[in-house]
């Protein structure tokens, strides 16, 4: 019997369609913000993808030069508006290092709790919307329900749901009340079972796996050369986490594991593994939060810090945010205002991988790739 498919394949070898330029965005649901991608496609195959960014550029770096150090904190939370606490923490840690401040243990512990809760909230948004991009609507609602619980806790702590302005050089602006600590404890008991449910709904869903496994593979070599960090680097199997390798704010006191892409499904460095690193990190964050709230040290929630600090010196310092390592380069000249503040954003640099990674991909997989690298355009454009 004649093999019809083979004959068809032989006939179509070398057959090409006209190259088509498709404009994706800036207003497109799957771009998670205002990202424009110019895609050159040959039929369903991508030949080139040029990301065009800057639609959300507010140049916070220029704004901070005209304001006092403390007035820069609200600007940092507006960079990555779904993980604002972590952004603020990096900024105040850099200022503290310039001032040489000693932070009370309670303030450090509060910061760890807050930034791990923020990591869960941020990863829930990422995981939920990724499911939405891949056609699963239900996990999105479950993720937002649980994220809302964290936002309620944050609202009780500092009065805001998204843009907190909570961190201060020296500590945090308000202490945790016993009521809030109970709520956090309840959340740590409630959340792991919900995460198991998320695994049943999305992680092990065969449609989701076939959309994401073996798609958009970033090797560890490529990830390092691109300077990727956070879940994107660890999804490629490279063990690097600043919380372990260069601890700040007392992370060395807590017991947790660094989650890597281990190819439970698909292969190391593909979209599914990057996604699954985030899910595993949420379990680890719960582990950290439980340890901290069980033994929350008593004491002050802030050190005696000057209201208008005038640091001298220059520093580049990185912290581990939900989306990777966020760095601040601060040039302080002894004045009330910083001479220069620059933020290194992990999302900015991961967006630059699109051109290389999307070549040869199917058109629908661009959305899978874009969701798996988890960018927030506020941080890309700053």
């Amino acid at each position: 019997m004649k093999d019809f498919t083979q004959e068809l394949n032989e006939e179509t070898i070398g057959l090409q369609t006209e190259e088509l330029t498709i404009n994706m965005g800036p207003q497109h649901p799957s771009t998670h913000g205002v990202l424009r991608v110019v895609v050159k496609s040959d039929g369903e195959i991508i030949r080139a993808a040029y990301p065009d960014i800057g639609y959300l550029h507010r140049c916070f770096e220029k704004h901070t030069e005209r304001r006092e150090y403390i007035q820069g904190i609200p600007f940092t939370s507006r960079m990555d508006y779904v993980a604002a606490m972590s952004q603020e923490l990096g900024y105040v840690l850099a200022i503290e290092k310039l001032l040489g401040l000693e932070i009370p243990e309670r303030a450090q512990a509060i910061r760890v709790v807050i930034s791990e809760l923020q990591r869960i909230a941020s990863h829930l948004l990422s995981v939920g919307t990724y499911g939405l991009d891949m056609g699963g609507f239900t996990p999105f609602l479950y993720a937002f329900r649980d994220r809302e619980k964290i936002l309620r806790i944050f609202e009780e702590i500092c009065g805001a749901r998204l843009l907190y302005n909570y961190m201060r050089p020296g500590g945090v602006s308000r202490d945790l009340t016993p009521g809030v600590i109970d709520k956090i404890k309840d959340f740590t008991k409630y959340f792991p079972s919900q995460l198991d449910e998320m695994n049943d709904l999305l992680t092990n869903n065969s449609i989701f796996i076939s959309r994401t496994a073996h798609i958009g593979v970033i090797t560890a070599d490529q990830a390092i050369s691109y300077g990727l960090s956070g879940p994107n680097l660890r999804g490629s199997g490279f063990n690097w986490d600043l919380r372990k390798d260069n601890p700040y704010s007392g992370y060395e006191k807590y017991d947790f594991d660094v989650c890597l892409g281990l190819a439970e499904k698909g292969e190391i460095g593909d979209c599914w593994n990057r996604y699954y690193v985030r899910v595993k990190e949420m379990y680890e964050s719960i582990k950290i939060i439980t340890q901290v709230v069980e033994s929350l040290p008593a004491g002050e929630h802030t050190a005696k810090a000057p209201k208008s600090p005038k640091p001298v010196g220059e520093i580049y310092m990185e912290t581990e945010c939900p989306r990777g390592t966020l760095g601040y380069h601060i040039v302080a000249d002894g004045g009330k205002k910083p001479w220069r503040v620059k933020a290194k954003s992990p999302c900015f640099i991961v967006t630059s991988t699109m051109d290389e990674m999307c070549r040869g991909m199917m058109l629908a997989d661009v959305v899978a790739y874009l969701g798996s690298i988890d960018i927030v355009l506020g941080e890309v454009d700053r």
């Binding site: 550029h57 220029k62 260069n246 380069h329 001479w339 900015f348």
Partner: protein, 201 residues
């Protein structure tokens, strides 16, 4: 393996056992003075301009801008440093007169570029700086050494007007292509309007 313009494939330490943490090499943190000595031994004494010790914060090695490509390649591939990660390229404008009147910092008419390098194997961070002429800042591009340099350099060009020679796509990245001026320069004048739209201040 290198092509005609000296571009080599970026190397890492995790080719075979990818799950292993690359901690096989003994951690040996480097101070700025160690780096300066190594660079002097390799490239000659005049390569290192100064070692800058801040009162607080990081320590910086200021090097000759003409040799930055060789230095970055050396720091990436030499076994004593193994700086495989370029964390950021950040540019700072220093003018004789700025907005900060009460400045304690010596003002000099220059643009400083910071290359923040990090080693996964040795767990150390190295800060290299070059000083460029403010009127016409030009430096060789690092895109052949680190892929991440591509967008960082475009950002430095966009916001501070630093020219990177040999960059494959030397265009603005955050601002629109027809924007005039480089906003993070200290003497930047804010435009009153852009394409007929009033710019709010």
């Amino acid at each position: 393996m290198s092509d005609s313009i000296g571009r080599t494939a970026p190397r890492t330490f995790v080719n075979t056992a990818i799950h292993q943490v690359p901690k096989s090499v003994e951690a040996s943190p480097k101070t700025a003075q160690n780096v300066a000595d190594a660079l002097k031994a390799k490239f000659g004494a005049e390569t290192v301009k100064a070692v800058e010790d801040q009162q607080a914060g990081d320590h910086f090695v200021i090097v000759d801008s003409a040799k930055i490509s060789e230095i970055l390649l050396f720091l990436r591939d030499d076994s004593a440093f193994y700086c495989s990660n370029l964390q950021v390229i950040s540019a700072v404008d220093f003018t004789p007169k700025g907005e900060n009147e009460e400045t304690q910092r010596k003002a000099f008419d220059t643009i400083e570029l910071l290359y923040a390098l990090q080693s996964y194997a040795h767990k150390h961070e190295i800060r290299i700086k070059v000083r460029l002429d403010r009127a016409a800042p030009r430096v060789a591009s690092a895109t052949g050494i680190f892929r991440s340099a591509n967008w960082y350099e475009r950002e430095c060009y966009d916001l501070l007007g630093v020219h990177f020679e040999g960059h494959p796509n030397h265009k603005r990245i955050l601002l629109p292509p027809d924007w005039i001026g480089h906003p993070l320069r200290k003497d930047y004048e804010f435009p009153e309007e852009y394409n007929g739209m009033k710019v709010p201040l």
